[in-house]
Amino acid sequence: MGNEHMLEIHDLHAAVEGSEILKGIDLMVRPGEVHAIMGPNGSGKSTLAQLLAGHPAYEVTSGTVRFGGRDLLEMEPDERAAAGVFLAFQYPVEIRGITNAYFLQSAVNAIRKTRGEEPLDTIDFAELLDAKLKAIGWDDSLVYRAVNEGFSGGEKKRNEILQLSVLEPSLAIMDETDSGLDIDAVKAVAEVVNRFRSPERSFIVVTHYQRILNYLTPDYVHVLAHGRIVRSGGKELALELEAKGYDWTKSELVAAG
């Protein structure tokens, strides 16, 4: 693992419609690291994940976020994607009338364009997609359907993973990708994440449940509550949370405040 930080979040405060949700987040991620962010509902986990991808609903009121040395907060969502940020959505959006294959080709070529690379034609892209599917051991049953339209919850999450594998980001943020999945599906998601782990690629795995961390060993676990990281530790912290639940975060916060 390199020593340079890929992502540096300092004292990040953010609000939506005037109400503050993130109240001073500090988080440093080096290349190759997997960080799990856990916390109860309403703690700000998903806000942090979506904010990093550039969701327009969140207003940063103070603090800084640097990604690869650049000011991430100054970048448009598509610029962040081109720079290597990927968000696996908690609730992926249905895009009617557009097949997954066409969508993925558009996304790959948009990113190639910003990098000054030639676009892939349909045949080249089909080969790339085929290779990616083979690598993760999936068939093409999702590929020629309209993006997420009529997909089951599990299919939508799988589709996010497929996009991740095709777009090859350097920072993948997984926003509750494991929620609503049965244990086999959670394992399948974790397997793909493990496959894509590399010294250059980092993961932020936002999760409500400890379960996925049985299959995905994080380097760090952070507990987010009321818009702050209230505890950080190694993977053993996840086990502790599993045993204790989140109720203690209330008193911890009182103690911290």
Binding site: P56, E76, P77, D78, P92, V93, R96, F103, I111
Partner: protein
């Protein structure tokens, strides 16, 4: 009171034009047709021009049609293949029947030989031959009753297009009927009455593309009537493409009647005309009939489209699916009125209606009105409508995958259109429409940028 005076002036002018036509232009017609014309003009004379006080015309003001007196164009035209070519489906295997100013133009048509007695010809020629299917079906659908303009079309009926596919014949050659308006020396007030009769007999199959177009930028009024008759267990794929000049007026009635177990899939596209009103009626007249009616509008500027659709379930065990998407930029406006009638005894009817409207500008507008009239108790009828600009969460999803704002908008708009394009089963037509749609959307999103 000025409007009242204008109305009667236009009204009287068409009644007078009919009198002249009945004496000069229609002498050789069979008696049954003369009778239909006389009944039709009487109906028009009685109904007159609709006004926005009429419920069915609440959102569509035909004032431009009342304010000037339009001149019924004869067949004379100098329109050549170059003028028509942008509207011909690029498929050399298809048949093309060109109808210019309501009259068949053989020199602009392309007719391969058809198997098994199938016929594609002018209505005039079919009348001269006393083709039995013409007398049996022409003007029997009730399309004339639908709007005063439908009646006016029948009153001036003298030519048009006739497609006949006899019992059991599967016509693999797609047929395009291209109605073109060439105003020529008539100036800005030309009027045409395109007419189409398609008869697909029992267990026959056909694909028909009905196209309406005219000279770029020309002002004219076209008032077509199309009647489709689909026999027992027959199948018709029909497409209706309205690409009239942006200064034209288009008032259409399209009627299909399905016999037992018949399948009719119509996909209709509206890109042209300053104002278009299209009354599309499908009667499921035999048990087990299935009717699909889909539509896509892509309008900008101050264009106006009004679709009034009726799916009339007259028999049990019939299905209908209706899916209309409208894309409106600048100050364009769309009206969708979807009526589903389930007649007494039409049990096990299954009908689904969807109308989605995408507004690309703050000044664009769409109105959607479902009308369900259900007189049976064991039926399933659903309807839904959406209206609004491109969804911000959709935009963010695409942008988070690397598409810039403009490309994300373009892809979402195209996806919206593709839902309808994907229902076009005639592949060469779909490929062509795909290109037309992309050009149209590029123009519409350009509208928005400057609006």
């Amino acid at each position: 009171m000025a409007q009242q005076v204008d109305r009667s002036r236009a009204h009287n002018a068409y009644v007078a034009a009919y009198e002249a036509f009945a004496v000069n232009g229609a002498g050789a017609s069979p008696e049954w047709l003369k009778g239909k014309r006389a009944a039709a003009i009487a109906r028009f004379a009685d109904a007159g021009f609709p006004s926005t006080r009429d419920e069915a015309w609440r959102f569509t003001d035909v004032k431009p049609l009342v304010e000037s007196v339009f001149e019924v164009l004869g067949g004379a035209s100098t329109a050549d293949a170059v003028a028509l070519s942008p509207h011909v489906v690029p498929d050399e295997t298809s048949a093309v029947l060109a109808v210019v100013n309501g009259r068949v133009a053989p020199h602009l048509s392309r007719m391969p030989s058809f198997p098994g007695g199938a016929v594609v010809m002018g209505l005039r020629e079919a009348l001269d031959q006393a083709h039995p299917a013409v007398e049996q079906h022409l003007g029997t659908s009730g399309a004339d009753l639908r709007t005063p303009f439908g009646a006016l079309n029948t009153a001036f009926l003298s030519d048009g297009a006739f497609v006949f596919v006899p019992r059991g014949v599967r016509l693999s050659v797609p047929i395009q009927v291209l109605f073109f308006t060439d105003v020529g020396s008539a100036g800005d007030n030309g009027l045409v009455f395109p007419r189409l009769l398609v008869v697909v007999e029992d267990e026959a199959e056909a694909t028909v593309v009905e196209t309406h177009a005219g000279g770029d930028g020309d002002r004219y009024w076209t008032s077509p009537v199309s009647e489709y008759v689909v026999g027992v267990n027959a199948q018709l794929d029909s497409y209706r493409i309205q690409r009239d000049s942006g200064n034209a007026y288009h008032t259409a009635v399209t009627h299909s009647r399905l016999a037992r177990d018949a399948r009719c899939a119509m996909v209709t596209f509206s890109f042209g005309a300053a104002l278009s009103r299209q009354d599309l009626v499908s009667v499921l007249g035999g048990e087990g009939a299935q009717s699909t009616l889909n539509g896509l509008s892509g309008l900008g500027g101050r264009q106006h489209v009004d679709y009034h659709t009726t799916l009339d379930h007259a028999q049990p065990h019939c299905n209908s699916w209706e899916y209309f998407n409208g894309i409106f930029g600048d100050r364009a406006r769309g009206v969708f009125s979807g009526r589903i009638i389930v007649r007494q005894g039409a049990q096990k009817t299954d009908s689904k209606q969807t109308n989605n409207n995408l507004l690309l500008s703050a000044n664009a507008r769409a109105d959607s009105q479902p009308q369900l009239e259900i007189h049976a108790d064991d039926v399933r009828c659903t309807h839904g409508a959406t209206l609004g600009p491109i969804d911000e969460t959709h935009l963010f999803y695409l942008r988070s995958r690397g598409l810039n704002l403009a490309d994300a908008r373009k892809l979402l708009t195209y996806g919206f259109a593709s839902e309808i394009l994907n229902s076009v089963r005639y592949q060469r037509l779909r490929d062509w429409l795909d290109v037309l749609v992309q050009q149209r959307l590029a123009a519409l999103t350009g509208d928005t940028a400057t609006a």
